[in-house]
């Protein structure tokens, strides 16, 4: 098994005919992801990616005709909240929203509707997820992965690639790698993912990659201290040198009122018995020291 995505994933790509949507859908297909449908309003009946993927006008049509159960959204920010709500309304259980730059207040009702519907929203402003050897959804380069037993969860994109590449180079494979997104308001938190990893028999160790802003890393650390005893874990926190009061690229990466610093997060993780690497390249060694033998 893996979490969130795997061989059972039947993906609909919302915005498949756009530049980003088309490019990344091609990469996903090449990786072996089952893309059963595309969706672009007004382009229903066409086929995308050299006739390999049927396009529908609505997500509901895609679900009815192809049995899609997962969605990946490449719709521009102005239409992305609506795209998430359409997917949830059509009964999609897992929705990845890659889109960056969605106004934070727009996400409050969307997150609430997802929660009430029992749907899982990942993102927005996230790179997606890969379950190596099975499926990838989103924009993470497929080449960095190796099949294995380490679950990786991160708020970042390229930083995650860096960490995953270091693990792969060290011969440590991954069960699932997930980017939960760099925005202040996101559908799925570190804690949610830790709970999914804890329940996944194939995930034997966990790497958490956090950054400044908010207190989600602290919340995850407290839960891990209680529920993940005996699971080898390692972490990395970006932004030790970030100044206060500045948004460091990600809308959610900001130290405000002296809170949300890297130091606070590092000490919360260490207090939970999780070693924190000084560089992402040290993560494989820390996992080994934590007892991971895979």
């Amino acid at each position: 098994m893996s979490i969130l995505i795997g061989r059972e994933t039947r993906l609909v790509v919302q915005g498949i005919t756009g530049r980003e949507g088309e490019f990344h859908s091609r990469q996903m297909l090449e990786y072996g992801t089952r893309i059963v449908a595309g969706m672009t309003p007004g382009k229903g009946g066409l086929h995308a990616l050299e006739n390999r993927v049927p396009v529908f006008d609505t997500v509901a049509d895609a679900v009815r005709q192809t049995g899609a159960n997962t969605s990946c959204i490449f719709v521009p920010a102005a239409g992305a909240p609506d795209a998430v709500l359409e997917a949830i309304g059509a009964g999609i259980g897992t929705v990845f929203c890659i889109t960056e730059g969605i106004p934070a207040l727009d996400m409050l009702p969307v997150v609430e509707v997802a929660r009430a519907a029992g749907a899982r929203l990942i993102g927005p402003n996230c790179p997606g997820a890969t379950s190596p050897g099975r499926a990838k959804v989103g924009i993470i380069p497929g080449s960095i992965h190796r099949e294995g037993g380490v679950g990786v969860v991160s708020r970042s994109g390229t930083l995650t690639y860096e960490a995953v590449q270091a693990m792969t180079d060290a011969g440590i494979g991954q069960s699932t790698c997930i980017g939960i997104g760099g925005d202040p308001i996101i559908g799925t938190t570190f804690l949610d993912i830790l709970q999914l990893f804890a329940a996944d028999p194939e995930t034997e160790a966990i790497v958490l990659i956090g950054e400044i802003g908010g207190a989600a890393e602290e919340e995850a650390a407290a839960w891990a201290a209680e529920h993940l005893r005996g699971v080898p874990m390692a972490a990395f926190i970006a932004g030790r040198t970030a100044p206060e009061g500045k948004r460091m690229g990600h809308a959610g990466a900001i130290i405000s009122g002296g809170r949300g610093t890297a130091a606070e997060k590092v000490s919360a993780l260490e207090a939970a018995g999780i070693r924190v690497a000084d560089s992402p390249t040290e993560l494989p060694a820390l996992l080994r020291e934590a007892g991971y033998r895979g």
Binding site: E112, P127, E211, A262
Partner: protein, 394 residues
């Protein structure tokens, strides 16, 4: 985006909140004119407040009272041009000084953990809320607005009772609470703070009356929402903005100027922060945070190079690219092109991995760039190059 107090007050007033009158003056003479008006209208004193986007104005001497128009002119003259935390004061807000009976704090934030708008109130107004949170966290009361229904009246009443507000002010407090949340929604703010919210005493035709008003206002806007608020974009204070910030915005580059000597160019925010951290760890200091974003092409790479080199303190440049959507060869071409045109020769260490990294390596090798295989190695090389350059200059 941060906006000035005077603009924040306008946004509150637009939602019908009670804000006492004010005017903005850019010269001491203007301050005198508006002070005369407020004094003629019955104010015993006027307050003069520096308009800067940093906290701690009062402590820095940027908030003063004046009892006459002449005094207002003299004080405004002193505050204008004053340096507060590195920012030169270019305008002051002038308003009638209030007779304050009691001060409160009332603010709305976008709360990440509960994923709701949270309204906070405290009976300890006029002090920084972070200070209250540290010393007496139990003095801050909170309610979370419903994500679909918004703030409900009973929630606002709950807050009012918690801070000891009852009687005639209860209804006004509920209205102001709703107004603060409305201000947040109308403008896509992520913070709306009224500190102090005050009961003030005014003389009316039938003697003294007390009412609840917003004496100060702080609003920060969600940058992601600015494209749909062109009117709010105009509130950006260009006086306080680094010209580099405007250029960065134009090219869609995320850029923050820092104090060190090693310029950084990275793709992705998390990786950009990590690159800074590793520069520090290797014994150097980053000159900036710079994320060229996903899929950057040659023009964005050269713009990034210009931004970095505009800082005279930069002694070395570290380029760190993990190609995904971004193609390594595109970045390499951009770097070669930018170096050929740059006026100042600064040692550069380039590390490009991921998509099209082989082609990038070939191009960089032909152009005789210093390269590195890992991020740690790149940081060490850049720090060594900066130290060498500083030594040569000395």
């Amino acid at each position: 985006m941060k906006i000035q107090e005077a603009d924040a007050k306008s946004l509150l007033a637009a939602q019908g909140l009670p804000v006492p009158p004010w005017a903005v003056a850019r010269t001491a003479a203007d301050a005198r004119t508006v002070a005369e008006r407020f004094l003629a209208d019955g104010a015993s004193h006027v307050v003069i407040k520096a308009q800067v986007l940093v906290g701690g104005r009062g402590k820095a001497g940027g908030v003063k009272l004046a009892g006459s128009a002449a005094e207002a002119e003299e004080i405004a003259g002193r505050i204008l041009g004053m340096d507060i935390k590195g920012i030169t004061v270019r305008k002051v807000l002038v308003g009638p000084a209030a007779v304050i009976v009691k001060e409160f704090y009332l603010g709305a934030i976008l709360d990440r953990a509960s994923r709701r708008i949270v309204l906070m109130a405290s009976a300890e107004g006029g002090v920084e809320i972070e200070e209250v949170a540290k010393v007496t966290p139990e003095a801050i009361h909170r309610v979370a607005a419903h994500p679909l229904l918004g703030l409900l009246d009973w929630q606002a009443r709950e807050l009012a009772f918690a801070v000891g507000l009852a009687g005639p002010h209860l209804r006004d407090f509920v209205k102001i609470s709703r107004g603060i949340v409305a201000t947040m929604r109308a403008n896509d703010a992520d913070l709306v703070e009224v500190n102090p919210l005050a009961i003030i005493r005014e003389s009316g035709p039938e003697g003294y009356v007390e009412r609840l008003v917003c004496l100060d206002a702080k609003v920060t806007l969600d940058d992601s929402a600015l494209p749909r608020h062109p009117d709010l974009e105009k509130l950006r204070d260009l006086d306080e903005e680094d010209p580099a910030d405007a250029e960065a915005r134009h090219y869609d580059i995320s850029f923050i100027h820092l104090d060190g000597s090693i310029g950084c160019m990275v793709n992705g925010a998390g990786l950009a922060m990590t690159t800074m951290d590793l520069v520090k760890r290797a014994g150097g200091a980053p000159a900036n945070f710079l994320d060229i974003g996903g899929g950057a092409k040659a023009d964005r790479v050269s713009a990034a190079m210009r931004l970095i080199l505009a800082d005279p303190k930069v002694r070395a440049i570290l380029v760190n690219i993990f190609g995904g959507i971004t193609r390594g060869d595109e970045v390499a071409r951009g770097l070669i092109d930018a170096r050929a045109r740059q006026e100042r020769d600064v040692p550069m260490v380039v590390r490009i991995v991921g998509t099209n990294a082989e082609e990038a390596a070939r191009l960089l090798h032909e152009a005789a760039f210093e390269t590195a295989a890992t991020l740690d190695e790149a940081a060490a090389k850049a720090v060594a190059a900066a130290q060498q350059a500083t030594g040569d200059a000395a």
